[in-house]
Amino acid sequence: MNYLENRKYVIQAIFLVVGVVYALRLFYIQVVDSSYKQAAETNAIKTVIQYPFRGLIYDRNGELLVQNTPVYDLMIVPKEARNIDTLRLAQMLEIPLEDARERFKKARAYSWVKPSIFLQMLSTQDFAHIQDNLIDFPGFYINARTARGYPHKSLGHALGYIAEISPKQLEDTSYHGYRPGDYIGKAGIEMEYEKYLMGKRGVKYKMVNVRGIDKGPFKDGAYDTLSVAGQNLVSTIDLELQAYGEYLMDGAKGSVVAIEPATGEILAYISAPFYDPNLFTGKDYGKNYMQLLQDPDKTMFNRPIMADRNPPGSIFKLTQALIALEEGVINPRTQFACNKSLVNCHPHPSPLDLYGAVQHSCNPWFFQAYRALINQGKSKNTFTDTSLGLKDWREQVLTFGFGQKLGIDIPGEKTGIIASTDLYDRVYGKNRWKYSTIYSLSIGQGELGVTPLQMANFMAIIANKGYYVTPHIIRSVGENGKPLKENQERHYTSVKPQHYEPIIEGMAEVVRAGTARRANLEKVGIVVCGKTGTAQNPQGPDHAVFVAFAPKENPKIAIAVYVEHGKWGGQSAAPIAGLMIEKFLTDTVTMKAQEKWVLSREYLNIKSK
């Protein structure tokens, strides 16, 4: 042959080189590089989250507070939604044409072929209206899911709400497992008990084709998990009492907190003005939320646990007396003259013992008792002596739950303020202040801030004669119905039980014959022990406070009522407390005159002196 025949080897070599190169390339793509496998999964396997039913919330009597209601999201697949009469669509959905166009644009920007939400959270009524017309709009369909519903419109501040998880939360590792668009508790019980309420999400792996169309379960569902419904919660709230309290507070501003003293269970939790929690469930959630957030009455301010800048006023005299008794600087028979040169007072008999001082809320009496408590002569230097006295006193005040978070199961609780040596040292300089600087503490004014919750808790302490159980609004989680362990511990104060007796006697007198006669329930056989207060308010009329517990023997309810600009506790706050106590203890309201007086809101119009 010849040299040309050898060329067959060249040609065969070319074939083989290509074959080997291709086999190597395939080995790289198929075996070495795993990124193609992941890409294939994201391509063809769609993870469908099975949302569990969120746990329900009941009141202490089994009344449903929070339920799940069906809502409907209008979904769009832009690719299929061509040649749509946008104007007609906008009219049908009752949204502005511009808005509809915006939503189209948004959906298209998200994906041309994948479904996205066009309009979310349509009510059942909207759904019924739209469904019949939907046939004229290809590419649109309805996706049903559940949202929260509140059958009683009560307790908004305590229940909180759920909303879409924020981008910031998504970045936070403690929210691991949430995805964009998930709903999460944003406030109140919904937030605090999120992990119980949310349940366990299930995952379904579905195969989809290139157009996102379902092609059945992946591996026949071998990797799928079922969703587990969230756990139900039983609240300590008495819905009837709550609703009645809201009825009384409607139109006023302030707080009402009622606690069962023996257990720390919260019976009523009112922050006025309040709002219908259903406002946060519908499609207007965003609009409603912004409106409430911006309103001048600060509706979204969770007053019972957040309003900690206001001094407690006269109710704090009880704390002072208790500590003074414990320290032995006074006894129930100790008398002080009503010396108005020390501090201003109102007309009443003088001199008074402890019972009378409580009954008449005598300012000079407590000035002198507190001075005895603070300046015990532990140091010869009056500055040092005051400082030492204040330090001891503060330690004891903290055992009453003041100046710290009580640990209620509602997020956002504030600590309040209790005057400290550090504070005065900072303001006046070390050893530059003495009793004359701080005496307003004696009557609950000055460097003091107490939340309404702390006031109610204080009443529970007196009712229990020396201890409190951490106030809580959820009694049990899940089906077993057992109280949560963390809510059973008793916190004892520094004051021995016997010292509470004279205070309780004095408080009974306050209601029977003192400043809080509007809370008197002797007609129905209930002895109410209470104390009025006035919190000075530089911005306007003083705030009115009334704290109480009842019955005197074996107390069932401790309550704090705080009415902003209510001026005198006895006029505005006391009747509300009285009515609620009667409602709770007897299930009826006989004091119709008081109710009428409360609802008239006349006390808000009384001219200040």
Partner: protein, 440 residues
């Protein structure tokens, strides 16, 4: 192109160690036939796998789906091959020019009357839903004409006129096919260069052609300056190693200037001469990730499908990427993805091995022909099959630009299957009768 003339050795009959038979089937190269049927059967099963859906299982034989239709094409293909084998083998040589002429006329006719399908005017509607793509038939016709021309005894090696005629035979159908807007099919005709090489064409043309293609692709991949430095270094090295090149210093300089010119004209060529869809195919080859949803879609999805197969593959009918339409044209141009996904590296490599076997076998068959006509035709066949294989598999794994040409014997489609059947079985017919041929 010149053909080395064989010297008459006076031996009319081959040494009789080989089996002699008067029947064409007795002398048939059954190994190649077996390879043919293995490839066709595998192709058929994969065509079924593409349309298989667990929710809606259709029998593989159903004429409602591609696999059923393909079976029809396979069946008629068998009839076709029997006809090709029993016809007097001399016909192919004697009628090579009339067949070629007829196909050229058919191509022109198609160009004139065809209704555009996706921009292509290459389909002839035969009625009853059957369509024919004459461009597919042009391959074997051109191969016959080239073989006939090269077997001409009076052909002279350096004759300019003869070279022009050969080029005309080769590229006339390609030009008509380009006019039909089937550039991919037209490129196939460039594959005959391998056959020409075997028959005496200067290897320089192969080397220059290969180098030009390499420089073209590298220009798109590598910064121009680096590329030129690299080329200069390579040329310097070549001159250092081979003193003959050193003597042609001026030629080398001229060549380098030519390369510089080429490098700088690539941009112009890509951006201003190529049509947008052709530009995109080049961009997709270079960097499909730049636009994975646009021009990079085919390549990206095809690589994902193949890459997800792993070593063993997902199993027959278990593929998700090919089944759920992520890969376009899966039954035809991207059928290799189904193999890659469902049968993994093992299956892909076995398929490549099968093709290698077939190519090697055809080279073997070609070399044992006594006639120049038979040998040249054999090389034409292997060139076409090889070109299809390189481009079709290469584009699915990102090593070749996306050119819409089928995988021989494998892809769905009657025109394609018939065309390759005719191409191969004419060779087998000639081969079966090789002993009746006198050595010239």
């Amino acid at each position: 192109m010149p053909v080395e003339q064989k010297v008459l050795g006076g031996k009319i009959v081959q040494p009789s160690s080989r089996r002699q038979s008067t029947s064409v089937f007795g002398n048939l190269d059954w190994f190649t036939v077996l390879l043919y049927f293995v490839l066709v059967a595998l192709g058929w099963m994969n065509i079924y796998a593409v349309v298989y859906s667990p929710e809606n299982i259709v029998n593989i034989f159903s004429f409602d789906i591609n696999s059923g239709k393909q079976l029809l094409w396979i069946g008629t293909g068998v009839i076709l091959m029997i006809v090709l084998l029993v016809v007097d083998y001399k016909v192919y040589e004697h009628l090579a020019y009339p067949i070629y002429g007829g196909i050229i006329l058919l191509l022109l006719f198609t160009l004139a009357v065809a209704n555009p399908v996706a921009g292509s005017r290459s389909w002839l509607d035969l009625g009853g839903g059957v369509r024919l793509q004459p461009a597919e038939l042009a391959k074997f016709a051109t191969a016959l004409a080239i073989s006939r021309f090269l077997s001409n005894v009076s052909l002279r090696q350096q004759n300019m006129k003869d070279q022009m005629v050969l080029a005309a035979i080769t590229f006339l159908p390609a030009i008509i096919i380009i006019l039909q807007n089937e550039t991919g099919s037209a490129l196939v005709f460039g594959a005959f260069i391998l056959a020409f090489f075997r028959e005496g064409m200067s290897p320089l043309i192969l080397i220059i052609g290969g180098s030009a293609a390499a420089i073209f692709i590298l220009t798109l991949l590598v910064p121009k300056l680096y590329l030129l430095i690299g080329v200069a270094a390579l040329m310097g090295l070549a001159m250092f190693l081979d003193y003959r090149l050193m003597r042609r210093f001026k030629t080398m300089i001229a060549l380098f200037v030519l390369i510089i010119g080429m490098v700088f004209s690539v941009d112009y060529f890509v951006n201003d001469i190529l049509q947008p869809h052709q530009q995109n195919r080049i961009k997709a080859l270079i960097n499909p990730e730049a636009d994975p949803l646009g021009y990079g879609w085919n390549v990206t999805q095809s690589k994902i499908a193949i890459g997800s197969g792993g070593f063993w593959g997902k199993g027959f009918l278990e593929g998700t990427q090919t089944k759920f339409d992520f890969v376009p044209e899966q039954s035809t141009d991207f059928i290799f993805c189904t193999i890659g996904e469902e049968h993994g590296w093992l299956g892909s490599t076995i398929l490549i091995g099968l093709f290698m076997l077939l190519l090697m076998r055809i080279v073997y068959i070609a070399e044992r022909q006594k006639s120049v006509f038979g040998r040249t035709y054999g090389y034409c066949v292997v060139s076409i099959i090889f070109f299809h294989f390189v481009i079709n598999v290469g584009m699915t794994i990102g090593l070749a630009p996306v050119v819409g040409i089928p995988l021989p014997f494998f892809s769905y489609g009657g025109s394609s299957l018939w065309s390759f059947t005719i191409l191969l079985f004419i060779l087998l017919a000639i081969d079966a009768n090789r002993n009746r041929e006198l050595v010239r």
